[in-house]
Amino acid sequence: MKQIWLLSKITFKEGVRNRILLGILLVAVLFSAFNIVFTQMFAHDLSKVSVDLGLSTVSLSGLAVIFFMGINLLSRDFEKRTIYMILSRPIARWQYVLGKFFGLTFMVGTSVAILGFFSAAGVKATMLIAPPYVPPNYSWLIFILSIFFSYLSLIILTAIAQLFTCLTTSSYIALLITACTYFIGQNVEIVRNMFDDGKGVNEIYAGLISVVTWVFPNLQAFDLKTAAGYGLPLETGALIWTAVYGLSYVVIVLALTILVFQRRELS
């Protein structure tokens, strides 16, 4: 446990050294200001536009942290061969995988928290400027839940990025595959619904789609931006099951990463 915590801390510090937090802070301030200006261009539902922009910024920046920094941090140990130095210490391979994962998750979480805070400030400012356009059922709880579920989808992507980094030991390939996974994950539900409707679809093709929907995570399930924008009611059961769905997916991917890493020949 101590080793995992130590590795997490080192990974997080590496991220901080990259000045990523400074960049995120800058993005947060800029987008909050832009949020207020952009929202005024609309005639109705101003708070919805503001929530859309704020939550999209949170997701986008989280994705940027994973794609531009996270994958780089993960693959650096392989590419610069510092992995030998780490593993020569009393650190088991599974501890290395978990330590790196939690460090990155913490990094992404910090980015989400900073941007989430500034987004909320932008939304609040819009609501104060135009109080008649706040939806009657608007709820900050749903806004926070939306950020939490957005974070959960980012954790899933972090786990996937780590698996592919361990599999390929190349940052570029890992980035490419993780980006593809993100794209597929966002559309899995739409595709599945299309095939649920369509009669006379080729059975092999339908089977393939079914497999894809099991292998790739349904990232749309974690997107609560619309609900947050309009204060639409959410079912507690649905939220719990979605969280279990995401977390169990992360555990599976981490277990697979450990399996792959333990069998990997590093010399």
Partner: protein, 273 residues
């Protein structure tokens, strides 16, 4: 090593079992989303946009609507051809499909598409989508009723739609008055003025207020001219050749001002703007 593998395999099995269970439960809870997709049967291009937009559908919907409103507010719109207006209608439809909850979309569609380019079906499709997704909002149902009445001349359907809109909690009581008046076949243009005045009084949006007051002014001009034409007809047993004849024969002191800087039209004894 062996112990570790057993633990890892056990964790994996438990996680997979939990994941399968969670997946089925998540799918069950997401049937509502499936329903929403069914409700918005999309042509291929919109589906493509949806897929590309991913989780940023709301943002893309805002952008598309901004494109449409920028065109409508521009100087090009009065001179625009059918092709441009088709594109504007498509933008609004795509925006509405990407985000069927957005109030700005149906408001913009209602205040432009049926008036400027007689796109009644397109407007009704957007309004129906908004009505379905905004069960707390009486306005889409109200606009549907208005469109059936004023543009499609179907008073019975209009009355039905207004009554439906009245069932939304918080709907103003004038809806039911209008609905009943329609059912008893009230005058066409005057009822339209009442509809517009009612919505004018309810809105705080200055831009919409200006658009509505222009529309009301134009319709009041039609009412004034139509009654003058009717007087002319009863006096001379024929309709005037031009509207200026009404002033020449001293039935009207002046022709009413047209808010859109056009002239009122007269065809077979019916005045329009």
């Amino acid at each position: 090593m062996k112990r570790k593998t057993i633990i890892l395999t056990s964790v994996l099995i438990v996680a997979i079992a939990l994941h399968v269970l969670a997946r089925f439960n998540t799918d069950n809870h997401r049937t509502d989303y499936v329903y929403r997709l069914h409700a918005s049967v999309l042509p291929f291009p919109t589906e493509m946009i949806k897929a590309l937009a991913g989780e940023f559908k709301g943002m893309v919907a805002n952008y598309l609507l901004l494109e449409a409103s920028a065109f409508i507010g521009s100087e090009q719109s009065p001179a625009a051809g059918a092709e441009e207006w088709d594109a504007v209608a498509r933008l609004m439809d795509q925006s509405s499909q990407l985000d069927p909850y957005f109030k700005s979309t149906y408001r913009l569609a209602q205040t432009t598409l049926p008036w400027e380019v007689q796109k009644f079906d397109e407007t009704l499709a957007i309004l129906e989508r908004s009505k379905e997704h905004r069960p707390w909002d009486w306005e889409p149902g109200f606009f549907i009723g208005f469109d059936y009445y004023y543009f499609l001349n179907d008073r019975l359907k209009a009355s039905e739609k207004l009554m439906e809109a009245y069932t939304v909690p918080g709907a103003p009581p004038f809806l039911i008055t209008l609905a009943s008046r329609l059912a008893s076949q009230a005058g066409h243009t005057r009822t339209a003025i009442e509809f517009l005045t009612a919505i004018y009084e309810k809105t705080d949006d200055e831009r919409l207020k200006k658009s509505l007051s222009d529309r009301i002014m134009a319709l009041e001009g039609v009412v004034l001219l139509q009654s003058a034409v009717d007087i002319f007809h009863s006096k001379y047993d024929r309709y005037p050749h031009t509207l200026d004849e009404l002033v020449e024969k001293s039935i009207l002191p002046d022709l009413p001002v047209h808010p859109y800087n056009r002239t009122y039209t007269l065809k077979d004894g019916r005045v329009d703007f």
